[in-house]
């Protein structure tokens, strides 16, 4: 089995509120998986469970290890960048590199320095003197130089401008990702990651509501710009959602043959964002 992460029936309560309510999913090696869900749906809790940062109930195996009991060992092969895991203000670039090199067996200093050289970071710069974008660059440089099997990103580009965001994902794809690595990513900026994802996991109310590869998503979900005369017929096929753009009805179908839908009007593959909105509607209602 090439499953990097396999989770079964994860449960977690914070007092009376349920963060995870029986989430089950698998992540295969060599994939870039987007874990996407509304606020409070259990995304961060799932990531924390995978990283061994929170106790939970259920079965979870990450790289064959239980994050609850084998955390330190697991961290040899897992890296993470979280919006909330920020670098301390007093840390200098050169010290950060030296420290990670000192404690991490899989760290490659040359790689980190090569990446740093492409930024405006200097060895003596302290984190407190950096912009948020630069801090993320430093963190990414550290993480990219680690030959880890699994990289977990929790809102890694939150608060960055568009230049940093684009560059972040570009670096990740071009210089880091290969078939031996797996990336698990959560973000609300779906548009920016959807073209790099290979798999989607939608999470809703602590449960996985959709788990599919992007190819499967393309096959399963179809968006149709329905011509006015077919609206009733199309509605009979129970679209997931319907919206109106420039006076035309756009309907999103799940598991309806494309051939059949092509009679109603122009077809297209929905964006992840549209799919997300369609499947999560009513979340905050």
């Amino acid at each position: 089995m090439s499953a990097i992460i396999s989770a079964a029936n994860l449960r977690k309560q914070y007092g009376k509120s349920t963060a995870l309510d029986g989430a089950s999913f698998q992540v295969e090696a060599g994939r870039i998986v987007g874990l996407i869900g509304p606020n409070g749906s259990g995304k961060t809790t799932t990531l924390k469970a995978i990283l061994g940062l929170t106790p939970f109930d259920g079965e979870l195996s990450v790289l064959g290890m239980d994050p609850r009991t084998q955390r330190e060992q697991l961290m040899n092969d897992v890296c993470f960048i979280a919006d909330v895991a920020i670098l301390p203000r007093w840390l200098k670039v050169k010290d950060a590199i030296a420290f990670v090199e000192g404690v991490h067996p899989r760290f490659d200093r040359a790689k980190a320095e090569k990446y740093i050289a492409r930024t405006k970071l200097t060895p003596d710069m302290k984190v407190k003197a950096m912009s948020k974008g630069m801090v993320v660059q430093l963190h990414l440089a550290l993480v990219m130089a680690i030959d880890a099997k699994l990289l977990v990103l929790d809102e890694p580009t939150l608060g960055l401008d568009i230049l940093y965001r684009k560059q972040f994902y570009q670096n990740l794809l071009e210089d880091y990702f290969d078939e031996n690595k797996t990336i698990l990513i959560t973000t609300h900026q779906i548009e920016e990651v959807e073209h790099i994802l290979t798999d989607l996991l939608f999470i809703e109310d602590g449960r996985i509501s959709l788990a599919a590869s992007m190819d499967e998503v393309g096959e399963r979900f179809t968006e149709v710009m329905v011509e006015p005369q077919f609206i009733a017929a199309a509605n009979a096929l129970q679209p997931l959602s319907q919206r109106t753009v420039f006076g035309k009805a756009i309907m999103l179908f799940d598991g309806v043959a494309r051939q059949q839908l092509s009679n109603f009007g122009e077809l297209r593959t929905p964006s992840v964002a549209d799919l997300f909105v369609a499947t999560m509607k009513g979340t905050y209602a």
Partner: protein, 315 residues
Amino acid sequence: MKTMKWLIKREMWENKGMLLWTPVVISSAVATLGLVAAFIGKHGDWEVNGRNIGSVTVEGTARANIADTMAQAYMASSIPLLMVLSFLVFFYCLGALHDERRDRSLLFWKSLPVSDLTTVLSKVLMAVVVAPLITLGIAVVMSLVILAAGCMALMAHGTNMFGALLLSPDLYLTPLRMVALLPVYALWALPTVGWLLMVSSWARSKVFLWAVGTPVISALLMLWAEKGLHLGFDTAWYTANIVDRILLGVVPGSWLMFDRVHIMLEHEEHKLAIPQTIFNESWGTLAGINVWVGAAAGVAMIATAVWMRRRREEA
């Protein structure tokens, strides 16, 4: 081992200002005062062992006696520095596990393959070994500077102490004795270090209030219950054996107070050099049960801190 080395370095990077520059600045201030006193202070009014040596040249036995006193006592000028060390270690421990939670860098440190146990131990080592060694190093240099200045001032009055001092074994033994007291210090400091680290890993905010307020207020409550309600509490015992131990253990020499050692008597009876007496008595405290009970409590509290760091979830 390698990981520990980097963890210690990490602590140094973070706390350099506090653990290195504070003692440097304070020792410079003390040394400056010493120099001012030696050279600009009131001349002709120098008394050592009750003899005025301001205007006479001292030689022979008298000079040897003065040399002995100076060689034994010169580290006394580092007492302010050692008192400062207590504060440094106290506040270092208080922040050690709290700052990383407050600035949310905890998750970054946790993303590296370093166990919570190793991390917390690096902070314990920092508190009871590295920080005291840094301060001691600075203290020795400063004391020697002041001693040399004193000798030069004496020289200006016609008495040359350098030769006698350099030949005095106490000159070299005194700093060594202080370094050799480090294990005693560490053991007596453990309850305080453990308590502070535990509070540091546990309190959401206001660590100082929790660390100091809890024992002090509980002692006051007990006192009130004892005196006001005539309940059978022994507040004096509680204060001496719990409150003082978890708050004052980081004060160098605290063991002399906790174990009620009578240095002076000893000194009079056996005619030992004072630093040697202090040294012997300090190691002697390890024969009692007091220190070990405290150390065990300290280890338990450190273990709690490790557990908290591992289990505690940050919002």
